[in-house]
Symmetry: C2
Subunit: 380 residues, 2 copies
């Protein structure tokens, strides 16, 4: 009876209540009973996004909403600035180029945050830049970019957008879309929303909606103009993923009404802090020590330790699924999640498992010191 | 205690077993336990498609796979022939034009099937046509187009594709992809698959895969080249909708291994036949008498009857949700589903409800004659 535990930074475990909510009998999305469901989803999304503007929903994974945030905001030949500090920064660049958008990439060492002054310089050098694309939390490196400071710089012009991949930031920490002046904010169901994958969300400022009107990139399934027009009629353009919407209403109720958004941020941050201290206590190095994301923690596999063997031991012997590194970090780091449906005891158990697995593959440390540190820090 | 019953031609009711299967704990799509799940989905899809080729899966609704079947097969400036005999025929035209594909539309009276000779003529007149887009079953009118005959004509050239929207045909009736030489076949989870919406499927012939290599339309989320490359590694490019895949495995088990594909077609056809006879017995006119789809039956609202009032009575007083007409048929027809999770007794009950609602809104007929007819026809 090996119990299995999922610690990847999305998907994260789905609460039983949410899984059972999704098992409700299906309803027809053009029938009257869809309206209260859809409204509850949209209102909850506006609260978690901290926006008065529309948050669109797509039957897609997060990459779908990223695609839409390029193909429906810009036009071929437009110039975009991309902050590229990990696998998902690379994705912004790829999407832009797929649609004929010219990119200038600010390459940032993986695991570090971009210096906002570099964004300011790049914008000063190329005033034709129409949009800046960035990750709030770069999931591949567990580092956060300073979105608030970047927004202040981008906001010096009203003719420029800041587009934020907040897939592991919305519901993870305070990222107020309206207050900071973010123009397009992407997220997805399988992260802080504690849902299965299959829903993508996209919040749009008024400025972004003006860009939608002007965009000429070809697209069909992701059509923001059409979705924005359908929204006041309580509809989506295409058939929505109704069973996932049942789950979304339930999870938004938990996050917003029962736990509270601030408490959710606080819990996630506490788990992340304790994990970082625990990793340091057993001699492990963080990948992103200076700008750590509370969404997940990335630790370097210690010298002499076989990364894949460590992950395999964790999974097959101990039942813990953690995430590998992506791209050039493959096999070199371990990532464990804090966002979503985790509490103190989940986190302590995962740290203990990492310690046991390290010991099993020959890493010498004071076994249990990580668990002890986390227990102490997570007492209250 | 008004019991509610869904009779729209997708979404259709989801069997309890499938709903509970989707409530399983989530797993990570890059972890080892994803592989058997994904393989079972793909193998089942190949069986239901009757193809040896790949059937791709997308986190999207059916329109997403329709988009992919244009934006990944053709290039801007290419010429396509579109059979336009309903709302979904119009959609093929819209998608083509969204990507700069020139279209010639064969307009077909709504509710009738296209004459294959017209397809042959159109191809003879425009030898530069690279692809023919058609619906197998045009859900908006409940009419079937003669895909087999069209395929024989299209197959006279190896440099031309036949792309079939089979969203209400796959799993509904015999539509053997390989045997008939269909090149790209689209379907979606909320139809014969008896699943919630949120998954789209796309089968591709070898010829279609060659077109994928050459296509230059811009796209990112729907990237068939990337998906075809990921398939042999048991992966999708982007995060798949894992909970829906749990349901897909279960529903494919029911359809393919327990009920059987041929028995599924036979049952659907029987329900459709009996419904058509029952509708005639109470004096109602079919919209597509000459080429009726077994997926659903569309009946004209009788003269003097208020269509919306009839549907409202069915829904609010009797608990039956049926589909309205779409586009220019809005308010003029009723559509009731046969594809998916329906048996004889569901169908008889729905016919009885239609009769009661007709009587309530003042249509004079021999009440119960429809239910009687269906009961007689569905005895065995």
């Amino acid at each position: 009876m090996l119990k299995t535990r999922l610690f990847t930074p999305g998907p994260v475990p789905v609460p039983d209540r949410v899984r059972l909510a999704m098992a409700q009998p299906i309803l027809h999305h053009r029938a009257a009973d869809f309206i209260p469901l859809f409204r509850a989803c949209r209102e909850g999304l506006q609260r978690i996004y901290q926006t008065q503007g529309p948050v669109l929903l797509f039957a897609a994974s997060g990459t779908g909403a990223m695609d839409a945030a390029v193909s429906n905001l810009l036009s071929p030949g437009d110039h975009a600035l991309v902050v590229r500090g990990g696998k998902f920064g690379e994705r912004w660049d790829e999407i832009c180029r797929a649609y004929g958008v010219r990119t200038t990439c600010l390459d940032v060492e993986w695991g570090t945050a971009v210096d906002p002054a570099r964004v300011a310089d790049a914008l000063a050098q190329a005033p034709d830049i129409k949009a800046v694309y960035v990750q709030a939390s770069e999931t591949s490196t567990a580092a956060c970019h300073p979105v608030r400071e970047i927004a202040e710089i981008v906001r010096e012009s009203d003719e420029r957008l800041l587009v934020v991949d907040a897939i592991t930031a919305i519901g993870v920490y305070d990222l107020p879309m309206d207050a900071w002046g973010l123009d397009a904010v992407v997220s997805g169901s399988q992260k802080a929303f504690m849902m299965p994958p299959g829903l993508a969300f996209l919040g749009l400022s008024e400025r972004a909606q003006r860009f939608v009107e002007r965009s000429t990139c070809p697209h069909y399934y992701f059509n923001l103009k059409k979705e924005l027009k359908a929204l006041p009629t309580d509809q989506t353009s295409w058939t929505p993923a109704v069973s996932l919407l049942f789950g979304l209403v339930e999870t938004l109720r938990i996050i917003l009404d029962e736990v509270g958004l601030e408490e959710t941020w606080r819990r996630t941050e506490k788990l992340a802090q304790a994990t970082r201290e625990a990793m340091r206590a057993i001699g492990l190095e963080l990948l992103a020590p200076d700008a750590p994301s509370p969404a997940c923690t990335a630790v370097r596999v210690p010298e002499g330790v076989d990364g894949p063997a460590l992950r395999t031991h964790l999974r097959d012997q101990l039942g813990f699924t953690l995430a590998d590194g992506q791209g050039k970090l493959k096999g070199k780091i371990l990532r464990l999640a804090h966002l979503g449906y985790y509490d103190r005891f989940d986190t302590i158990a995962c740290i203990a498992a990492i310690e046991m697995a390290l010991a099993a593959v020959g890493y010498v440390h004071k076994l249990g010191e990580g668990a002890r540190t986390a227990t102490e820090l997570l007492r209250d």
